[in-house]
Symmetry: C2
Subunit: 335 residues, 2 copies
């Protein structure tokens, strides 16, 4: 294993220190925890939008802290849920008097710990805490770590849209409604050229021969649902996009947003080559593409590969997706 780390057990702590050192105008760390919050949290009168999960998916989650996106982000150990007490501390630090919405990726550990944190918060008198569970991965119904589908790259669209709604002053029930609308209308499918290697284990989490790829991988080093011979970028783009479209079952001529997401070790050049065919295909099918993002949004350590996300848009979602955001990983001018 070759990685730019020191001791494997220090990687999350040191990463968070490096983030705060890079972006003190955006983020601060809650002392003694692995929770980062917006530098100006809590934002008075604004619904706090918080998320969190295992580390190894950077820039998810803390890269999206800032105006128009997340108020708080809790980092667990690599591929491990943050603890309920840290999540509770985050909720408390992000409560600006208008309640808090937790955006939870659908993994058993995350859901359980967020639910416990919300119960603990209620015991402390914070009663306006709601949550939504994101389960956009169309590859599998149940997985190694989930009942139901996994939450993957579509989560970023929930952060963006819920964050924009909160920023313009929507109340908690309205922010939650919009977040759930994104959850209902988004699908993602991923693939890998290589496995990832966790710092602790130091070896690939699955073996993949030089002439094979995995389709339907998750973001925690789970093997995929299907192994095939190496395919060209166009064939990969078609497979992933078709599977997502099948699942979403969109109306003819629907307007959509797309993400071609890198898994952590994929050159941007390759993501654009994939995007070319994704857009061509959507055009052939008569869909109308609004926002089109290409880059590393939800990664899996050093995995090479990509995922394709499609979100069905309507007027209110599109407005929020294009609204201003100012975070370390995503900035939208919005003018």
């Amino acid at each position: 294993m070759k990685k730019l780390i020191n001791e494997p057990e220090d990687v999350v702590d040191e990463m968070l220190e490096g983030m705060v050192a890079a972006h003190p105008e955006y983020v601060r760390r809650l002392e003694g925890t692995n929770v980062l919050v917006r530098a100006d949290a809590p934002v008075e009168g604004m619904v706090g939008i918080v998320s969190g999960g295992g580390s190894g998916h950077e820039p998810t989650h803390a890269g999206y802290l800032g105006e128009g996106m997340l108020t708080g982000a809790a980092a667990g150990e690599v591929f491990t849920s943050p603890t309920a007490d840290q999540l509770q501390g985050m909720i408390a630090a992000c409560e600006g008097g208008a309640g808090v919405l937790c955006v939870v990726k659908n993994y058993e550990g995350d859901v359980m710990n967020f639910e416990t944190a919300i119960e603990l918060a209620e015991l402390e008198g914070e009663t306006d805490v709601e949550y939504v569970v994101v389960d956009d991965d169309v590859a599998v119904e149940d997985s190694l770590y989930t009942s139901g589908r996994r939450g993957v790259c579509g989560t970023i669209l929930v952060h963006k849209i819920a964050g924009a709604a909160a920023a313009r002053g929507d109340d908690l029930s309205e922010v939650k409604r919009l977040a759930e609308k994104v959850v209902d209308g988004v699908g993602t499918m991923g693939m890998a050229l290589t496995s990832c290697t966790t710092p602790e284990k130091g070896e690939p989490t699955f073996d993949l021969p030089d002439d094979e790829i995995e389709l339907g991988i998750g973001i925690h080093g789970e093997p995929g649902v299907e192994r095939t011979d190496v395919m060209g970028a166009d064939a990969v783009a078609e497979h992933l996009t078709e599977r997502v479209l099948e699942d979403l079952d969109l109306a003819e001529g629907a307007r959509v947003a797309t993400i071609v997401n890198g898994m952590g070790a994929t050159p941007l050049m390759e993501l654009y080559v994939v995007n070319r065919r994704v857009q061509e295909l959507l055009d052939e099918r008569g869909f109308d593409v609004g926002e089109c993002w290409v880059g590393d949004y939800m990664t899996s350590l050093d995995m090479a590969g990509c995922s394709v996300t499609v979100l069905e848009l309507d007027e209110e979602l599109e407005e929020l997706l294009g609204a201003p955001a100012d975070t370390p990983a995503l900035t939208v001018r919005g003018d």
Copy 2:
């Protein structure tokens, strides 16, 4: 070789198509060429800022097209200079009546082709074309592809500062003066955990055993100047930063901007771990850090590794670095 591409000979063309498909509001392609320009180029009355070079360094260069940065970006084949006629076409398309500044990374092919393009442009009557050559790599005096030092990640800071100066209406000589000030005050040093693999060759450009790293690598698959045993992230950060600081020989207490740049296949988590020690060290030495960027800015295909860039700031450079920019790869709100 496993890559998300189709035929190796189509990779640049298809990447550019994928970029235009993703960002039609930012970029358009000059027909029949591998040149992308700002969607609204030429910008009347504004100095055009153009750059270009071999592909494989994405988001460099076309990712920086837009308000406050580049007006034109020419993409050569992978690690190969764009041709002089394409560069000339780019210069013509970016001339808005206030002249054009070419930002050239110091490689023999790039310098020669830009010089020829400028001569050709002059024959066509475009006399207000100037250029600056960026040579920020402190690792080597001469290299496989250069007389003098190589141009690497510091180039992005030239794009940002020259682009901001042009956007606020500075004239060509002033924009060039500022660009040269950045060139004079910036240094970069890089390292690799792995070699890159070009699509054409299909094999790593150099061999690197599992227990060794290369220090002083370039961005074209050149081996480094020194091979050592694997080091931890802190030791890597110290080595790179020290070498850059030695070269820059800054005044005590100087204010600087920094980039911890990924080479293409490095997880963001690791870049933040490196940044932690870079910032700690600069603080120990009494330097005062302004802008601090962490991410993939100037890559080398699928190489794993990083580089550290330090730029000496003064009031005028810092103002331009923080000024608004709106491009696919870098957005600065600037408010």
